[in-house]
């Protein structure tokens, strides 16, 4: 039989191993490629891409104040990516972080409104954090419960949960909790996170979380259970794990961390609650977590990168009147390129000329 007719022109084979430096070279290359594509968008505005990128870098890192603002943007992204990691490791597609952040912020605000003036600052903040953890955790537990019990599609469920809680906040904001013009009153100073090095201390909390999540995922029994379930549900059952219970526990944890992020945004950055409090962080952080391969330390780098882009784009808008939406475009391009490049790390393209095994031609 003619060998040529057997095999398609281009075949794919999974790589058994790929040198780490080469893999990183591909990833860095994909980032550069994305920035190159971003040039097209900048050119459309009639500006020089080179100058634009320089403005962005300068606007994000050029001074202490700029850097502080950049960090402020990266903190919630990082915190929330950490929250996503355990779920995604388990192959539980929780895309409800946006809502879990909001639920946490809502709970924290409730605590702040109830106890301001009755408690000194530190216990108040701790109580707010505890409330946020509980709020976010319970909000995440709902879809997990239905997934464990009746296998209800978690992707769609968690997505819907986002808009329900955001709607609740919108109602509070315009109704029972309204202070003026559809806004909730600013937190009292005692309910605001103190600043360290010019940025609210949320960044310290998140960095501690990086360490904790890393340890949790790599060195604890629960982290091990999550990894096994993510690999094979059957194996987990074989090893005697209660898959449903672990699922609910992990989702509670994930929601709790997101809730804590909500607290950090509310008490640290915004000093109030609004329905836009999550502002897309819950969605962007999913991509951060995924692109970091769920590695807690890599998340620092990627969330910083996105922070720089967002802050830089703000500067670009004021300096060169380029719409700030350019940051979303560049972030989107970055995500596309990085998502796509994993394919070239995991698969090898084989041209048909040197086959010979005559693989299945189905």
């Amino acid at each position: 039989m003619d060998e040529k007719t057997k095999t398609p022109l281009l075949r794919l084979a999974k790589r058994s191993s790929f040198p780490k430096p080469a893999a990183w070279a591909i990833r860095v290359g994909s980032i550069l490629f994305a920035l190159l594509l971003g040039c097209v968008a900048i050119l459309l505005t009639g500006n020089s891409p080179f100058k634009a990128y320089a403005t962005m870098i300068n606007g994000a890192l050029g001074s202490k104040v700029y850097l502080q603002q950049t960090v402020k943007k990266a903190v919630p992204l990082l915190g929330c990516a950490l929250a996503i990691a355990p779920c995604f490791k388990m192959r539980f597609w929780n895309i409800g972080a946006e809502g879990q952040i909001t639920a946490g912020a809502l709970a924290a605000t409730f605590v702040a409104r109830t106890f301001t003036g009755k408690l000194p600052s530190l216990p108040l903040l701790l109580l707010m954090a505890a409330g946020a953890i509980l709020g976010g955790g319970l909000w995440a537990l709902i879809p997990a419960f239905f997934k464990a019990k009746w296998n209800t599609n978690e992707t769609l469920f968690t997505l819907m949960m986002n808009y329900i809680i955001i709607g609740v906040v919108a109602w509070l904001q315009a109704g029972p909790w309204e202070a003026q013009q559809g806004r909730i009153a600013q937190f009292d100073a005692s309910a605001q996170l103190p600043k360290v090095l010019g940025v609210h201390c949320g960044w310290i909390i998140v960095l501690v979380l990086v360490l904790l999540v890393h340890i949790y995922m790599r060195h604890t029994k629960q982290g091990y259970e999550i990894a096994v379930i993510g690999d094979s549900m059957r194996t987990a059952q074989y090893a005697g794990m209660n898959v449903g219970r672990i699922m609910m526990r992990t989702m509670f944890l994930s929601g709790a961390i997101s809730g804590l992020v909500g607290f950090i945004i509310a008490a640290g950055a915004n000093h109030t609650l609004a329905k836009e409090i999550a502002g897309g962080v819950g969605f962007t952080s999913i991509t951060v977590a995924w692109l970091s391969q769920l590695n807690a330390f890599a998340m620092i780098a990627i969330s910083m990168m996105l922070g720089i882009l967002t802050k830089g784009a703000d500067t670009l808008q004021t300096a060169m009147s380029v719409p700030a939406a350019i940051s979303d475009i560049i972030i989107g391009l970055l995500l596309f390129c990085m998502l796509g490049c994993e394919f070239f790390i995991n698969y090898r393209l084989i041209l048909r000329k040197k086959t010979g095994k005559g693989g299945a031609a189905v």
């Binding site: 808009y163 969605f283 350019i326």
Partner: protein, 329 residues
């Protein structure tokens, strides 16, 4: 009598608000029928809105005011192409490069809203003022294609014949999609791809081709929802505030109507009604803002009930969100 008028007015408004949703939902149904869960609908709608408006705006600016039908065609075409291009990115990444569908969809949502907003603002900056079209076109976009005497039929006239071109087009599209999925060979094959790509593949159906076509065309249809919103409800100006959330609502509506194009017809009117109910129907015991979460709440309930009842006819396409690679067979 008065109550009846209120109901009719409410329904008319619900249809107006529901029409963008209808397109968003129909497109996503087609996409999901192929097993692709494209969560980027929000971004696609933004792109459709911005490019559709841009198309009409520049057409009018450079070629003078076109006839209404030409304007509609240009708006639809520009929006469709923008959405198709966005979905092509999604499909290339998930089907060919095997990236995770959830993550890619979210990335598209970010990218698409960015592009939409960017384009909308760029137009404004270039024009130096708000970008809008002539009043003739504005009126045409919200006018009904039917003659006045039909609209004058008591009660039902307005309701049946008084809606915009876009609504009737959406109805035709929904019926067409229903017939396509149920009655044609390609529709049958497409459903097979979404249900069980392994079986479809072994039956000789080109799974990749069906996924690409359904996702790209579906994305194009969804994007039309964006421009419909801009030219009917937003008064032909770029309004990202109003458009935000419509895409996610469309994803919810797909679940609510159980992946059926015909159910999307009344589903979109219902969701449209829920979106504006607070303006028309003020009940002292229901806070106005809470009306807005009703669509999501009912969707969650539908989701739970359908998983609980385990009725085989009322499930998502079985391979929804899952990648299909032949060697995994």
């Amino acid at each position: 009598m008065n109550a009846l008028d209120t109901v009719i007015l409410l329904l008319l408004a619900a249809i107006t608000y529901g029409t963008p949703l209808l397109y968003g939902t129909l497109g996503e149904i087609l996409t999901e029928k192929s097993g692709n869960l494209n969560l980027g609908v929000e971004g696609i709608l933004f792109m459709g809105g911005a490019f559709g408006l841009g198309g009409v705006y520049y057409l009018e600016k450079f070629a003078g005011t076109p006839s209404g039908l030409v304007a509609i065609l240009v708006a639809l075409l520009c929006a469709f192409l923008a959405g198709a291009a966005a979905s092509l990115i999604f499909c290339f990444l998930t089907t060919t490069l095997r990236a995770n569908q959830n993550v890619t969809g979210l990335a598209l949502a970010i990218f698409g809203t960015g592009v939409g907003q960017f384009a909308g603002e760029m137009m404004r900056v270039r024009a130096g003022s708000y970008v809008t079209v002539s009043n003739e076109l504005k009126d045409f976009f919200i006018a009904s294609p039917f003659p006045q005497f039909l609209k004058d039929i008591p009660y039902l006239g307005q309701l049946i014949f008084g809606n915009s071109w876009f609504f009737y087009l959406g109805v035709v599209l929904a019926i067409g999609m229903h017939l396509f999925l149920k009655k044609t060979r390609k529709g049958l094959y497409l459903r097979a791809v979404g249900e069980n790509p392994g079986t479809a593949d072994s039956a000789g159906i080109n799974v990749t081709r069906y996924k690409y076509l359904a996702t790209v065309i579906g994305g194009g249809i969804s994007a039309i929802g964006g421009v419909v919103y801009i030219v009917t409800t937003a008064g032909c100006t770029w309004n990202n505030e109003g458009l935000s959330g419509v895409g996610w609502l469309a994803v919810a509506l797909v679940i609510f109507c159980l992946w059926r194009p015909l159910s999307a017809l009344w589903g979109s009117v219902l969701f449209g009604a829920l979106m504006i109910l607070y303006m028309r129907l003020q009940l002292s015991f229901v806070p106005t803002e809470l009306y807005k979460i009703l669509p999501y709440v009912v969707t969650v309930i539908v989701l739970i009930i359908s998983s609980l009842r385990n009725n085989k006819e009322k499930q998502p396409p079985a391979s929804l969100g899952l990648a299909y690679f032949r060697e995994d067979r």
